[in-house]
């Protein structure tokens, strides 16, 4: 039997509830009560006073980790390539953005940092400068023990030049501090009805065809598994029979298990943002994923 998965939850799951019907400590409580051991956050979201948090806030953060027995997993960040309408970031500025977030992630105990790079096209080809400003930060990432991991997210499939570009970068530099994050939304094979706070109408479907699912074959995960360091378990709607309405979890879990991956599956709910709905949706997904892992280990499916 290969290693077991680790289970976490991203506070992104609770968007809109967070700050209105949920405090930071509530989020810790909800996550810990699912049995998850990891917490993923949005840096410029849960870090009060970002990018210059107070020492009181840091104390509070570590106090909550201790009280709820959670470990920090991944911190999400953004490189604001189009810094103003008039100009883009220079390489130096891009490097500084990434450095700022690497240091913050480390300060808060995170082992992974997911930066969102700016993109140039509808299939999300990143701006060419990402490579230069990321390379300048590899030594720092190594020193801090943080792995930088851009996410492979719909509408970009696994077999795509975006992924090839990241893999070439890993091979060329030989770094252990850069890897792929897979967002399981790429495996979605049935249309969404809600995308976050947006109910999807025909107009949105026309412009954002990926909302119907880009249906990446789960087997493709095996081709890139050795570069994958983190998985955001994206989902949108799980019914009371634990049936996911959009993501085909059984073949997805099968492929991930067969790859030998033993890192985090971090729940990332992105469905209808009705108050409090996210809380139980996350609980359902945690149960569903663990049940499938157990059934795979027991040989109930291959």
């Amino acid at each position: 039997m290969a290693g077991s998965f680790k289970y976490g939850v991203s506070t992104y799951s609770y968007v809109d509830d967070y700050g209105s019907v949920m405090t930071l400590e509530d989020a810790f409580d909800h996550i810990a009560d699912t049995g998850a051991t990891g917490i993923e956050i949005l840096g410029e979201g849960q870090i009060e006073g970002y990018p210059n948090p107070s020492s009181q806030f840091l104390d509070r953060w570590f106090g909550l980790l201790d009280k709820y027995k959670l470990e920090p997993t991944n911190m999400c960040s953004w490189v604001d390539m189009r810094i103003t309408l008039q100009r883009n970031l220079t390489v130096e500025e891009g490097a500084a953005e990434l450095e700022r977030d690497l240091r913050l992630a480390h300060q808060f105990g995170f082992k992974f940092l997911r930066p969102k790079f700016g993109v140039l096209s509808h299939d999300l080809i990143p701006e060419p400068q990402w490579e230069a400003y990321t390379e300048r930060n590899l030594d720092l990432a190594h020193k801090l023990g943080v792995v930088i991991c851009p996410e492979i997210h719909a509408p970009t499939p696994i077999k795509h030049e975006v992924v090839d570009g990241y893999i070439n970068f890993i091979e060329r530099t030989g770094t252990k501090n850069f890897g792929l994050m897979i967002d399981t939304g790429i495996f979605q094979d049935r249309p969404l009805t809600h995308w976050g706070s947006h109910q999807i109408n025909d107009e949105a479907r026309k412009h954002m065809e990926f909302l119907n699912g880009i249906k990446v074959p789960p087997e493709h995960f095996l081709d890139v598994a050795k570069y994958v360091v983190f998985i955001q378990a994206k989902f949108h709607d799980i019914d009371e029979n634990l049936e996911d309405q959009n993501i085909p979890w059984q073949p997805v879990i099968s492929a991930i298990k067969r790859s030998g991956y033993s890192g985090y599956l971090s729940s990332e709910y992105e469905g209808w943002r009705a108050p409090w709905r996210s809380i139980d949706q996350v609980r359902r997904q945690q149960v569903l994923l663990r049940k499938l892992e157990r059934e795979y280990d027991e040989g109930k499916f291959a």
Partner: protein, 134 residues
Amino acid sequence: MLEHQLIQSTGFRNFGPVGAREGFAIRIRIPNYHGTRLSQLDGFDVTVDGVFYDHEINRFGIRDEVYTMAEMREETTARWGLTEWGEILVDKPGGLEPGVHKIEVLARIRYSYFPPDVHIFPMHAERYGTICIA
């Protein structure tokens, strides 16, 4: 804490001297799932009772600062945190009558990781709100 919806009940108010109001304010939470630099916002179109107020003219207030659209577009240091509110300031001599008004906001947020032609992402919200004080 904030209300769940974008447009908040409290903070819908007239501004300027009593008897010579200059306009009205709409309090909102951030139209995004994370905090951002102000330069990543491209303003707010407002429609109240069917009257349209253009994002190029409306101003934005956060904490103790007020920004014009031109100032906000170049503000790369100041940020809007996820759990903070801001307010849209709309010029309207005399302000709004006390009572219930239909409010629509189209918030224009910029995402660098969206394709260039659609990187200004509009978020629409509407509701009834109540002006309490003339």
